[in-house]
Each structure stands twice: as C-alpha cells, then as structure tokens.
Symmetry: C2
Subunit: 598 residues, 2 copies
C-alpha cells in the first residue's frame, strides 16, 4: 500500500492504521476477540503474541508473521502487509500487486510522419500523400477504415500536417496523435452488476486512472437470465441492451479522460472482458442459446472489432479486443482471471475460481486446463437472502458470535441495514460454530433470539433498536438453505474437476479465489462451512479483481492475447449438468461437515 506511519510504541498497529485512514476491520472494537484485523509482519519487531492470537493462528502462520493488528505494538520500524480480507474497503492497487506482471508489448505502434501540402505540381490525394510519407513499411490495405481517413483529411485541412500515426497489429492505421500526446487504451471488466474501467498509457503501460460504475443494463434485468429474456424479444431489444452498455462504458471513458487530462481521440485500443452473456450483449449477438440447454455461445474465438461499430468513443479507428469465451457460462473474464493469476504457467495443481451467481472454476495440472461453471446462485451478492443487500454502506460485512451475542461491522461503519455476501457467510459459519444450527443446517435450541418469519424460522441478528432501519435484521432458515446450496455447488464443482483429472484434494498446491466477493469473504468462515477444501492456509490466495487485472494485461501485451487464445485452444470444458458424479457430490456436500480444528 506504500503508506508510512509514525508511532511511539504505545499504540497498537490497529490504532495507528485507523489514525492513518486505513480501514482495517475491527468487529470487536480491538479487543482481540473477533480475529478480523489480521496482518502479517514482514520485518521489524512487534510485541509478544497475545493469547487470543495463539488460538487464532497455526504455528506455521505465527512463524510467517501473522498477527492481530489490535494486539500488536511496534518495538522497532516494522513493515506490515494487510491482506484484503482484513480491510473494510479494499486497496485495489495492493491486491493487484499480488498478480503477475506482464512484459509490455502493446498491439498499437506509433510512427511519426511529415507531410507537404498539395500544390499544382503535387495533386496526390490525402491518403496517398500519407501512405507515401509512411514509406516502404506501409502495407497497402484497401479496407482502410473510413473514419480514419476522415480524421486524416480533417486534421490536414486544420493545418496539422505533421503528426504521429497509430498502427494496429495488422499495420492498419487506427488514429493520429499530436506530437505531445501519448496513445492510451481502456480495459473494462463488465460484470453483470458492476463495471470497472482502467485507463492505461500505452507508451509506458502505466495505469493512469480507474473508475467503477453500475452496468446500466441493470435497468433491463438484474441478472443474466432476465437480460437474456429481455434480449430474446427481438433484435431491437438486443440493440437497446448493446446501446445502454456502450453508453455506460463511454461515460466511464469520458470521466476517466477528464480526470487524468487525456483526449478521447488518444484512446486507440479497448479490451473488454465479461462473462459470455455480457460479451454477447455488448457485441449485439443473439443470447437465446445461452438461456436454454445446452447453453452454447454464439462464438468462442477472440474478436477484434472496430470500436465505432459498437459505438465506443475513441480514436476514429480504435479497436476492441474481446478475449475468447470458453463456454456459454465460462467467459473471457475467466480467461482474463487465469492470465492475471498466472494459472497456466503455474507449477503443480492450481484451482482458480471466481464466485458469482455462476461460479467459474478452472483446474490446471501438468499443463492441462479444465474448466466448469456451477450455478451457485445470487446469495453471495445479497439476493435471495431475507435481509440481503449489495456491498454498499450499511451492509454487514463481518459478523462474529462470542460472549453470547453477535458482533458486527458494516461497510463505512454506517448503522446496519442488511447483510452483504461476506456478512451472511460469516453469520452461517458462526451459527454453525456456536451450535445454533446443526450439521444439516437447521436451527437448534441454542439459537438465540429465535422468531418466526412467515413460515420460516429465523434469528434476530440485529434488533431494530440497533439497526439503521429501526427494524430487526433477521437471518432465516431459508437464508441458511440458500448458503448451503451455494457452497455445495462450489464445493461439488471443485470436486468434479478433481475427479475428472484424477486429483486428490490435498494435492492442490494453490487455491486462487478471485472476484469482489472472493476478496472480501472471510476465508475461515468459508472453510468452516465447507465451501472450499480444507488445505494449509498458505495455499489460498484471495487475488481481488483478477479479471480487471487480466483485462489490463490483454491491453498492454499481445503476448497475453496469444496466451488467451492458446487457453481457448487447449482448455477442456466440463459440463456439470450432465456430469454423472456432480449431482451425487452436490447432495453429499450440502450439509456441514464436522468442523475441523486447526
């Protein structure tokens, strides 16, 4: 994160961090109970471990420097790493630092040129004048893009005769720059709900700015299925969805450009990643087949499209690169995640997953890659949960049960109004650990503050007197069932890949958890409810928005594009709905395993 804080040794790391504006989670208020403020000391001396820490961490972890920030006091200059799950709001740059760097090798190349004005002795047309000035290296292409030609003539007429031309991989011109302008690119991770855009300087590879926004298609349907239904009404409905998404991206680009002082005409290259449905809806492709068995994509291969054809703003001939789709429910965002996490070049057995309504999982072993998608449902996005909500201020994102009651922390420390994904995960894990639900998921007699919510049993997590809405915040029996379904799908998906490759769970060398929920989830809670296989802790990596990082890699490196295409050529796709072992395994892991003590 790069921050330096000065203390006098009387303040805990938690206090120092909080004073410096670093949002460390502290559900218990810094009393060493909740275990949320885990940090890792990289060098320097800290005070002795507290009892509560010995209970929380394994010997190995303590050896690695893991501490609770609330219990650790600096005795010297110390360097401390904060894992994403210990933050209330994530420091993305730090998270992204976890991910692999790529050699800088952008698709776009610059060439300077100088032109003479036409005169009676030299009546060549603008384009022929330009191509002659570019010399022998210029590959004559008949299908030059008209908007590029238009800009050339306009700039010439405006007196901008010398300039810099930007060429793509095929030696086609995509735009023109002033001498003092740098070429830029935009990488966008298009989620079903949210989009994240990154503005990158293509002369250095540096990310100049980043910005997030809601996916504007959300007003036509909250989830993939409802948007497919909308699009299925006809081509004009598809066009509406395409236009709304393009407009949303243009707005992001607009704001990004303004914020860092870049002209839109400097943007010569786009990389867009998303799930297959977002890919198709952005490209204006039919999606009916994504909504019905056997759920195939319209196209798998990587696409290169002129940006103006999909209504994105930028240089007149700006290009869009869309990485391949593996299957109808494993899209280019998953490939981007695999690239950013270096899954393919990795040694040993790697499992990498991105949790969402559909959870895409890949397993890499001996250079082979196999992928699947499981319907984990929207519970972790706060949907289908009685008090569920998105991860916005006021959402309970951490919960611990101790000393006979619930202790929670909310996003931005606002009064609690509901539960986001990481909150409901914590609650279920704590209900289980404290014996308030049994291994079948049913409330036991030990459940505190039990009430009835309709036909369902429930417990009051936060009484109305303490909530932001004045109403009780409940967790219902149905909520617990939703979480069981979700975690069973994920666990069974991993199991199916292990089975298909003849791999044992404990042979997994790396277990990579990507995506927003994957970043914020409390790993221990996930392990307590059996969502992931139980492995030594150092094998887990929560890598944040790896798809966004992968999109940036694709933007700055043609090698990454070739790797993405190689992944498509090599990957095996395992269809779980027809996998004979999947359903059995799914039912098998629906309950809660006996809790393993560390």
């Amino acid at each position: 994160m790069g921050k330096r804080i000065t203390g006098d040794g009387t303040q805990s790391l938690l206090t120092l961090a909080q004073e410096a504006g670093i949002s460390l989670t502290a559900v218990c208020g810094g009393t060493g109970v909740c275990g949320a403020c885990k940090v890792r000391c990289m060098n320097g001396q800290l005070s002795e471990s507290h009892n509560s820490e010995s209970e929380l961490f394994s010997e190995t972890q303590i050896g690695q420097g893991w501490r609770l920030a609330c219990m650790a006091y600096p005795l010297s200059d110390v360097r401390v790493e904060i894992p994403p799950e210990s933050m209330t709001t994530t420091q993305r740059l730090q998270i992204e630092g976890v991910l692999r760097e790529v050699p800088f090798k952008p698709a776009m190349q610059l060439r300077k040129f100088t032109l003479t004005e036409p005169n009676p002795d030299d009546l060549r047309a603008d384009w022929e004048r330009f191509t002659a000035a570019m010399g022998n290296n210029f590959s004559q292409r008949q299908d030059l893009q008209l908007p590029v030609l238009t800009q050339l003539s306009d700039r010439m007429r405006a007196g901008n005769w010398p300039g810099v031309a930007v060429f793509d991989e095929d030696q086609a011109v995509v735009g023109f720059l002033e001498a003092d302008q740098t070429p830029c690119g935009v990488a966008v991770d298009i989620g079903t709900t949210k989009m994240a855009a990154f503005l990158v300087d293509l002369s250095t590879g540096e990310t100049l700015g980043k910005m997030g926004a809601m996916n504007p298609q959300i007003s036509y349907g909250e989830d993939v299925i409802s948007r497919i239904a909308y699009a299925n009404q006809g081509p004009t409905f598809r066009e509406t969805l395409q236009a709304s998404l393009a407009q949303g991206i243009n707005d992001l680009v607009d704001n990004l450009c303004l914020s860092v002082g870049v002209e839109q005409t400097q943007i010569v290259d786009f990389v867009l990643v998303g799930n297959t449905a977002m890919h198709h809806l952005f490209a204006g492709l039919p999606v009916r087949q994504l909504g019905q068995a056997p759920y195939v994509a319209a196209v798998s291969q990587a696409l290169r499209v002129p940006a103006h054809e999909l209504s994105l703003v930028g240089a007149p001939g700006a290009r869009i690169y869309l990485p391949p789709n593996i299957a109808g429910y494993v899209g280019g965002d998953h490939i981007a995640m695999l690239l950013a996490s270096n899954v393919r070049q990795g040694d040993g057995v790697i499992v990498a997953l991105d949790i969402g309504t559909n959870t895409e999982i890949s397993l890499s072993k001996g250079g082979k890659l196999i992928s699947c998608s499981c319907a984990s449902g929207p519970a972790f996005e706060g949907a289908h949960i009685h008090a569920g909500m998105r991860a916005v201020p006021g959402a309970i994102e951490r919960a611990r049960f101790y000393e006979g009651d619930w202790h929670i922390s909310t996003i931005d420390d606002e009064p609690p109004i509901g539960l986001c994904g990481s909150g409901i995960l914590d609650v279920v894990a704590e209900l289980l650990v404290s014996g308030q639900i049994d291994t079948t998921g049913r409330f036991t007699t030990q459940a505190i503050r039990r009430v009835h919510q309709g036909r369902s049993d429930a417990v009051v997590l936060v009484p109305g007197t303490n909530s932001g809405t004045g109403k009780d915040i409940l967790v219902t029996q149905a909520d617990i069932r939703e979480i069981q379904l979700a975690k069973a799908a994920i666990r069974a998906g991993v199991a199916a890949l292990l089975r298909a490759t003849g791999t044992k769970e404990n042979a997994i060398d790396q277990f990579i958890i990507a995506g927003a929920f994957g970043t914020y989830l409390n790993l221990e809670s996930a392990l307590k409810i059996g969502m992931f296989p139980e492995l030594p802790r150092e094998r887990y990596q929560q890598v944040g928005n790896a798809a966004g990082v992968g999109a940036q890699h694709l933007l700055v490196s043609v090698d990454s594009r070739r790797q993405a295409e190689a992944i498509l050529a090599d990957v095996d796709y395992l269809e779980l709905t027809t996998d004979p072992g999947f359903m059995a395994s799914y039912v098998d892991v629906m309950g809660f395993d006996p809790i393993r003590k560390e």
Copy 2:
C-alpha cells in the same frame, strides 16, 4: 434491340418502327428533311437511296448501309441497327451491347455446409461449429463481422442448420443463403443528378433488373459545388448527405428486389461509381478540399467497406467496392467508363469523354493513359439556359431549321415546354448553319423572329401559340454564349491531351462519347459547332451509360477491379487550370470554325 416487325413493303422503316413502339426520332414528320431517323442496314435489301439521303451521308456511310428510316422501304427481310442518337428514348440494352463483355469472375464465392445441432457431447459455439464444418479451406479470421455472426446464430436457432455460405475475396463470410437462393449484387452509377442501379445475379452474371431515380442529395444542392458548401458546414451535414444518398440507394435496391423477387439478404456485393464528390459524399468523407484549389481527393485508391457501415441494406456482411478516383474531378465513374469502353486494351489512339458540368476526358496512346477534367458547365444539363430544362417529357431534344422555320421534336411527343441539352445543341448548330448567328456567335440580320429578352437579344424558337406553356420558347444570345463556353472547354480539353502526348487530331482512331447527354446528342450538330475534332464518322462511338456498364463489370469481375486499380497506378493526370496551353487554346476555339463540308 431484338424486336421483329412484319411489313408488306409498302411501309417505310420509320412507320414500321413507330407502329412497333420503337421511338425513332422524326423531327420533320418523315419527309426526309431533318435527317434525324438515321439507321444502318446490316443485311437484306432496302429501296433505292433518296436524294435527301445522298446529301446527308458520305459515300463511305452509304457503303456501310446508313439510311434514313423514313426514306427506306424493305424489299426483303432486313436487319436494321438503330444508333442511340436516332432514338427519342434510348434502348439501353442495345447501347450496352456496344460495350465490351467481361469474363465472369465475381468476388464472391459460395460454399455449402451442413451443421449438427449442439448437444451435451458437442458444446462448440455456433461460429466454431460453422468453421469446423467449412473444413480446412476456412481461413481463421479474428475480425469476422458481427452482423454475419448474428445472422448465423439466428438462422441456426430458426432451424436452418444446413445452408450456403458466401465468402468474399479474403475468405471472409459475408452472408448465408437458402439452398434455392442465388447470390446477387447491385451496381450503382451515382450521378450528381440521377442514379442508375443494376441488380445482377452473381451466379450467372445476368442483369436481372435496372432502375433509375433522382439522387436525393439534390434537395441539399443541385450541383456539386452547392453540395460541397452544404457539407462544409460540419460533420453532421456530411452525415445528412451520406444518409440521404444511402436511403436513396436502399429504396432503389428495395424496388429492384421486389420487382424481380429477390430477398435483400441475397445481396452480398455492391459496386458504386460516381464522380469524386459523389464518392466522398457517399463515403462520408470531407469534401472541403474538392471545392478549393488545388482540388485534391481525400483518397484515390479503391475502397472496400462493409455495406452496413455506410447503411446499405443487404446480406449482413455485404461488401461495397468503390473503384479508385483519378483526381478531385476525375472519379471512379470515369474509370468505369474506360473499363466498359475497353479504352486501355484498345489499339491506337483513343479519346473517351463523359460530358457533364465537368467533362472528364482520357486519351490512351501506346498503352499510356492521360486524363483531365474541364469545367464545361451545366448548359447541356439544361441549366444556365433561358428555356433550359432537364431531359424530361416536353423537352425539345431535336431541332432542325429548314424551309424558313424551326422543326422540333420533344421527349414523349409532349407539347414543347423548354430545351434539354441535345435540343439547345441542335439549335445552336442550326442557327450557325443557316447563317442566323455568325462565327463569333452573335445573331445576324438573318435571324428570324428576333426579340429582346431583358438586355439580351433572342429568337423565338416556338411561339407561345404552339408551346405547352402558352409562352414563347426563346433562345437568347446568352444561351449561345453558354454553349460556346461549354464546347470550347471540351474541345480545348481534348486539345490539351493531344498536345501533352504529341498527337495530331486526325491520329485519333476512336472517339468515344459516353454518358446520357453524349448518347442523345446529335453528333453532326456537335461537329458543326466544333465541340469535337472533325474525324471520319466511323471513328465516333456514342456508348450510352458506359459508367453504369463499367460498374456492372466491376461487380461481376475481379479482373475488372484489378484493371481499375491498374489504371490508377498508370494514369497521368493533367491539371488544366495550370496547363500553360489550355487557356490559349480555350479562347482559340470559343468561336465557330468555318463549317467543313463532308
């Protein structure tokens, strides 16, 4: 023309033709005086030549079978050729027969394919399923066109799994056909005023239908200059002109498709030819530089553009081919005309010209080609002429002066309301021959029915009692000056090319006159006023809408496209505005040469 007529030997060829609905011109009413109904007997026996014919035709011409239809009576089965200038409305098919045929070699190729439906054991995406079915010959192209992909998926979903794919020269898919559909193409000659479209079956090369319409841009400016001024107001004005032209072409295509029972999705290829301004305005390119010295084009090279990018309807990936522009005022329509007239492959010295507001002239000699454009003005289109009008019903298209008065014929034999180009040309020639104007172009005392029109002298061609409007139809001194300017520009343009290539006038082996006005003009009148060099009559060819024929050649033959591109690579362009000899020569030929008797 292919028509067969039966007679009993008592009717003249003129009468027989008129009864059969063939619109032979007969200004004098079939009395052997006006010489308008010239025909050529190809075989069979006709009655003896009349005196009037011996006066009108040279020995050579009589030997070649030239006759006046009104004076010739069939004595056996005869085969008669009617030159276009003898028709009131042209039989285009016959005219086009004059022009060179091209070997059939279209850019688009068909390949049949059969697909299996996706199933749990075969989850390939639609596009990958298709490319696999196409086999090894398929060249993997990342930049497949999205509309093509969309149509593939839609057709698959509609149950049309087997089909025929249409590929372009680069092996890119442009569309899909049902098994019983043929691929079609559309060639359009975009004139500043009129457009002509040809629907061609690309499996046979046969022209299925043709249709004309006004260029809808005319509502934004009648001529090139006013349209350039409109476009110069900004990009949205350019877009308006582009959209209006695209809409006009789409309407033509729509009607053509309806008239011959072809689906729009069968249209996989377009060829559009026009002058450089029409080219740029259709392609949405800047035109400011066309309106100001030194009048350069934005692009010369041939362009290939996806049809949807310029809003033309057709197959989803239909292509547009735009042949090269030679210069700012010598466009692709001139190249098309040269192709259709076989100018480049021709032996000897060939001059080919297309008369319009700008007259493009090319001279071919010893395999070299040189072109120029001269500002001949709009007089021959009926503009800047006191009683001028376009060639529509009621326009005087032929005029002779004999027996002390004017004898006229009008288009569709409607009452006369004004003069079109060929009419005013005839009038000026007859005024000269009958001594009513002198060799400087001024009215003489012999001019009949002289009146004053404003400050200008004039003669009454048709008194109001005989005209369709009830008003006198006048020919003014200013009208004669306009024609002098026009003919001088053309004659001086030809002279400049001859001078530049060191060629004598009488060395011209072929003199090709193309275009609508060139078809209808009375060659003898043009020669009388000195518009063209005086050559033996058989060296002249009036070839009709050669640009439209050339556009069809480009549509059905990639060889023609390569020839068009070779013309661009080889041609010399002579800029007349800076040519030292041009102005002198222009002034020199402004008057009327003494009339040469044959």
